[in-house]
């Protein structure tokens, strides 16, 4: 977009006009072509091979490729993994694909965006593709309950996790805290943080990325739904539950933590920065995904400290359970039967216990089949890896209530952004808790209302 005008030795009025005119127009292009009418027949991106769009980078991507290679050699069905950079990338490309009719056979959708994809009415419930004797009831109920809508398994759970508390045992010891009794409530997180900072052990007590998932966790651990209509699982929600003790306690605490320098703010959706803050020992506690166990353990080793993990802290001691995060496999509707059979084989392969064990060991995501868990138990995997044990216990000890089912809404990205943005205002003290929460409520209501109207 940079135009050098008419050369700098003689800048004429005309060359100035020309350059700026071109540059200006660019602002409006890029949007067109984003919308078109659909209705065309559905056809696969690649006739000769299954196309799978996913968002697993790095070692997770390599583990996935390994599984797909194994699937190909066992079944003779060709399958092509296409990395789409991020969940947002998969979502955007999937929505455009469903719009155009030229579709991938399988796509990995973040649980947060599940409803948005379902709202296209262009996806096939995966239950219809699995063979009749496929043991759906062997899946962990806490996992499948989210993905089951109207008693139908709409998508195939695959990479799932919760949030959990990691802490620096060495720092705890240095500050005179007992590393065997990590904090369990907000109040304890605060007092532990205060001690750590007062003793000069770390700059801050705790950190976590500003992502809506953590707000969802605080609610679910406290047994509260974030939105009405059972977080969207029992109809279209209309509001966010902010007039609650849960919300007030959470944000008052968060603000106090930030105000006293006990919470280190890594930024919005800043997963990597939060982990670095913890690994470089600028904060002694971190809340992040259970799928990070392996990375955090090796990171702590490199930085010369001992790490451990504990259940997600509760608001006031009562614990219901965490919400599920991560993604599942969706399948477009309208593909020919033989194609659907191949896709069914793929899903069954990814869900079988052996694949789940490989996947869990390679990535840290939960094995989602009970028989896989039993196998890992027999092999002594959990006693060798106690941090996985804690993560897994947190999931299995959870009650299965509407609160532990994550929000399921169409305008998820809007609501997510609104909550995250407003959280910054709230914890930084730019608005008071009562005022901020009521602003948050009306902003979320507006988003929900617009989408569903």
């Amino acid at each position: 977009m940079v135009h050098s005008g008419g050369g700098y030795d003689h800048v004429s009025r005309r060359s100035v006009l020309k350059a700026s005119g071109t540059a200006l127009t660019v602002g409006t292009v890029g949007l067109a072509g984003c919308s078109s009418s659909s209705g065309a027949s559905v056809r696969p991106v690649d006739e000769d091979s299954l196309t799978i769009w996913h968002a697993m980078g790095g070692t997770n991507g390599e583990t996935l490729q390994g599984l797909v290679d194994q699937f190909q050699s066992e079944t003779g069905i060709k399958a092509n993994l296409v990395f789409q950079d991020s969940y947002e990338g998969v979502l955007t490309n999937t929505l455009s694909a469903l719009d155009s009719g030229e579709v991938p056979d399988v796509f990995q959708i973040d649980s947060l965006f599940a409803q948005q994809v379902l709202d296209t009415d262009a996806v096939e419930p995966v239950e219809n593709l699995l063979s009749d004797d496929y043991p759906v009831d062997d899946f962990l109920p806490n996992v499948t309950s989210f993905f089951t809508i109207d008693d139908t398994l709409t998508s195939m759970p695959f990479n799932n996790s919760n949030a959990i508390l990691y802490y620096n045992r060495s720092a705890f010891e240095e500050a005179g805290l007992d590393p065997d009794s990590p904090p369990t409530t907000l109040e304890e997180v605060r007092s532990y943080s205060q001690t750590l900072v007062d003793e000069g052990v770390t700059d801050a007590g705790i950190t976590w990325p500003n992502h809506v998932w953590f707000v969802e966790h605080f609610y679910s651990v406290d047994g509260q739904t974030l939105l009405d209509a059972e977080n969207g699982h029992a109809g279209q929600p209309t509001t966010m539950q902010t007039d609650t003790e849960t919300a007030r306690s959470l944000y008052e605490w968060w603000h106090e933590m930030a105000d006293n320098g006990l919470f280190s703010n890594p930024g919005i959706e800043a997963w990597g920065e939060a982990t670095s803050t913890f690994l470089t020992e600028k904060a002694a506690m971190l809340m992040t995904s259970t799928a990070s166990v392996t990375g955090i353990r090796s990171g702590a080793e490199e930085n010369g400290f001992e790490v451990d993990n504990a259940f997600y802290p509760t608001i006031d001691g009562d614990r219901t359970g965490p919400v599920i995060g991560g993604a599942s496999w969706f399948v477009p509707s309208g593909l020919p039967q033989d194609r659907q059979d191949d896709i069914g084989s793929f899903l069954e392969f990814m869900g079988r216990p052996e694949s789940q064990i490989t996947w869990h060991k390679g990535t840290g995501y939960y094995p989602i089949r009970q028989s896989a868990v039993e196998q890992l138990e027999t092999d002594g995997w959990f006693s060798e890896n106690p941090m996985y044990r804690t993560a897994f216990d947190q999931l299995t000890q959870a009650e299965n209530t509407p609160a532990t089912k994550r929000m399921l809404i169409g305008p998820a990205r809007q609501v997510q952004t609104t909550i995250q943005d407003k959280s910054v205002e709230l914890f930084s003290g730019e608005v008071g808790v009562d005022e901020g929460l009521s602003e948050l409520k009306s902003a979320v209501e507006e988003q929900l209302n617009r989408y569903y109207s």
Binding site: V26, L31, S35
Partner: protein, 294 residues
């Protein structure tokens, strides 16, 4: 510049213009027209488009969030233009005056401009990151609490500094070249008359290079409104609490994160018109004050 009629044959002229015309049509004018059309629809991917008339524009007019975004963008662009040009003018003047190592200084100044915007944004993020930034501890040693992930005004300033840092090089290229074209005799006359350095810059050089400056004001305005997007995206994501939510970022978020393409199109049309008007105003002003030598 006086012979306009180079081609007497219209056909020949047309053929030569054709490639440019086609590219402009396909990649600029057609999408622009489509975007205007789309702004009258409620359009989101895979859920069908519904004609809603002026609803998107009404929603914009009634949105306090959008109004805030407009104010922030205007303030941001103004600060970028003034900041970039003030810094660039000082540096260019120093480079113009110095006799030894001109090239080295020039390269040093242009360096940030040579970086791709996304890289520049990331580099700056890790220079100034509140927790793990390279310079953060030094700045904090001066008594500043670096907290721009939570503090709105601080975030605005940090992104502004990044934006200025990135664009100064571009301005220096043009300004040093323009200064190099100022006749030596003028400098000598001014020196003989005992005009101070600052006066020489402001009273002699600036008026002479005013066409270049007008060009730069316009390019910097465009930069401030549109091309600072990667920095906002990589450093603040429009936050905290909308403090750096400039129009172009807001537009991107509406379109590519919220998939509200109709609404986003309306925003792009408004932005297009607003910046267009602003430039028209700048041209009118420049006609009055810039010296084109003729």
């Amino acid at each position: 510049m006086s012979t306009r009629e180079v081609f007497t044959d219209r056909l020949q002229a047309g053929v030569l213009l054709l490639p440019t015309m086609v590219v402009s049509m396909v990649f600029l004018y057609y999408p622009t027209v489509r975007a205007v059309g789309l702004s009258f629809y409620r359009a989101s991917l895979a859920r069908g488009d519904v004609f809603v008339g002026l609803e998107n524009y009404r929603r914009l007019a009634g949105s306090s969030e959008y109004l805030r975004s407009v104010l922030i963008s205007v303030l941001f662009a103004a600060c970028v233009v003034v900041g970039v040009m003030a810094v660039a003018l000082c540096i260019s003047f120093l480079i113009h005056e110095i006799n030894v190592g001109k090239g080295v200084y020039l390269v040093a100044v242009i360096w940030p401009y040579a970086l791709p915007p996304a890289v520049a944004g990331l580099v700056f993020l890790f220079i100034a990151h509140p927790n793990i930034g390279i310079f953060t501890s030094y700045i904090e040693a001066l008594g500043v609490d670096v907290n721009w992930f939570s503090n709105g005004p601080q975030a605005f300033v940090v992104v502004l500094i990044a934006a200025v840092w990135k664009q100064v090089g571009y301005n220096v290229i043009f300004m040093t070249a323009a200064l190099g074209n100022v006749p030596e005799s003028l400098t000598e006359t001014a020196e003989l008359d005992g005009v101070s350095r600052t006066q020489r810059l402001l009273r002699v050089y600036v008026p002479i290079i005013s066409p270049t400056l007008v060009f730069l004001v316009i390019m910097n305005t465009i930069y401030g409104f549109f091309r600072t997007f990667p920095m906002v995206d990589l450093m603040t994501k429009g936050g905290p609490a909308g403090a750096t939510n400039i129009l172009i970022y807001d537009l991107y978020r509406t379109a590519f994160q919220f998939y509200e393409f109709g609404f986003a199109s309306a925003k792009s049309v408004v932005l297009f018109i607003a910046v267009g008007l602003l430039m028209y105003g700048q041209f009118r002003l420049s006609d009055k004050y810039a010296y084109y030598g003729g």
